[in-house]
Amino acid sequence: MTYDFSIVLGYWQALLQGLGLTLKLTLLCAAAGSALGFFVSLARVSSIKPLRWISTLYVEFFRGTPVLIQLFWFFFCLPIAIGTDISNFVAATLSLTLYTGAITSETFRASLKSIRKEEIDACIALGLSRISQVLYVILPQAILRAIPTLLSNFVSLFKESALVSAVGMADLMFVGQNISSNIARPVEVLTMVALIYFVVAFPLTRAVTVVERKMLAKLAI
């Protein structure tokens, strides 16, 4: 058997469209999810007990179950539960945003923890109010320290987004699978699709290392 990878090129437009949906989902859920994750991380260190419990339960549940089942739940159960139909895109966005919120909240929590106690002493010695401490000393550092891990969270999200193909959304994975079965060329098409994912994700993982080194250098005392 011979392999002809040029055959895939004929479908570049469809693949590009699929990649478009994949990226759109990733970016949207990365933005909404990390905003959610940030507030959840605050809720998890809050002094109000019920808030702490609910946020912990949410995070542990979304981290402790397969993303595929989360997606299925939002696709098949949510419409029944709320008694109205929702579009595929909304269901996928909701599901992946909640997943991202759970994993990024852990990232923010770790970065909040890594701020040194000595700096808080200095804040008190300088007479800064609790609100000023949070706004000008804790928050900026927590966000800066979180950036490298957030980037790898986004890479995970990008990869997990391929699961929406299982519920029939026309993302890169779905388009690839369709072409592959239509022309009966799985080796060429699936390998190409994997390569496309790789080409997007790999530079991001390298960026994580670079950003990490920069952040560490900047925030090290």
């Binding site: 058997m1 542990e60 549940f61 981290r63 402790g64 179950t65 397969p66 993303v67 595929l68 089942i69 989360q70 299925f72 739940w73 098949f76 159960c77 029944i80 539960a81 709320i82 008694g83 890479v155 990869k159 997990e160 987004s161 391929a162 699961l163 193909s165 299982a166 994975m173 690839g176 699978q177 592959s180 799985p186 080796v187 699936l190 390998t191 699709v193 994997a194 994912y197 790789f198 994700a201 790999f202 993982t205």
Partner: protein, 222 residues
């Protein structure tokens, strides 16, 4: 929300769910056996001084880490038979795909752990007159294995959750059985919630164990 829950229908799928869970657990254990052993070997290859060894190993690791697990699984199912002209049982195929995926992630964990052994420890080994092999066996490895354990367990839980993907290629794991049951009973909410709870009930305690180990280490390293 006026939905009335009815879990009674699920009892008819009890045996299937149990079968599914058994397959899920088998997949997890087999993939972890592959990942923990081969991961270590690949980590050593990645750190090799020889380019011909290092570069393919790095490519392997990066490729598995930077592509979705689902395409790895589907690729194995459709492409391995064509490329290598072998026809394996679908569950073997699933184990291979998940095992290699975990191998890549664990190789990273081992590599990070080995490289986190402080340089002073090597120096101390040299100063004490240990041979290079002795330094690896008695100084570097114990240190590295200890610090890699939490990450290995976390990766192991990760692969447990990823096993749900094999349902897409019709391996009859917990996810697959759950989906089938949801269709036959017309009770997706109850079924999918129950399935999610089963996954959660297994991964959560193990995740807590990892946290407990890490907390103990933090206290010990103070």
């Amino acid at each position: 929300m006026s939905y009335s829950f009815d879990f009674s229908g699920l009892s008819q799928g009890y045996d299937e769910l149990l079968d599914g869970l058994r397959i899920t657990v088998e997949l997890t254990i087999a993939a972890n056996l592959i990942g923990v052993t081969f991961g270590f070997i690949v980590a050593l290859l990645v750190m090799s001084k020889l380019k011909v060894v290092r570069i393919p190993a790095m490519l392997f690791v990066e490729f598995f880490r930077c592509t979705p697990a689902i395409i790895q699984i589907i690729w194995f199912f459709y492409c391995v038979p064509i490329l290598f002209d072998v026809y394996l049982e679908s569950i073997t195929m699933g184990i291979l795909a998940l095992g290699l995926n975990l191998t890549a992630f664990n190789a990273e964990a081992y590599r990070a752990a080995i490289q986190s052994v402080p340089k002073e420890q090597h120096d101390a080994g040299i100063a004490l007159g240990l041979s290079p092999l002795q330094r690896v066996l008695y100084v570097v490895l114990p240190h590295a294995v200890r610090s890699s354990v939490p990450v290995l367990i976390t990766n192991g839980i990760g692969i447990f959750q990823q096993t749900a993907l094999v349902a897409i290629v019709a391996i009859q794991d917990l996810m697959y059985q759950g989906k089938a049951l949801a269709t036959t009973t017309y009770r997706p909410i109850e079924t999918f919630t129950l399935i999610a709870v089963i996954y959660f009930a297994i991964s959560f305690p193990i995740a807590q164990l990892v946290q407990a180990i890490e907390r103990r280490r933090e206290v010990a390293s103070r």
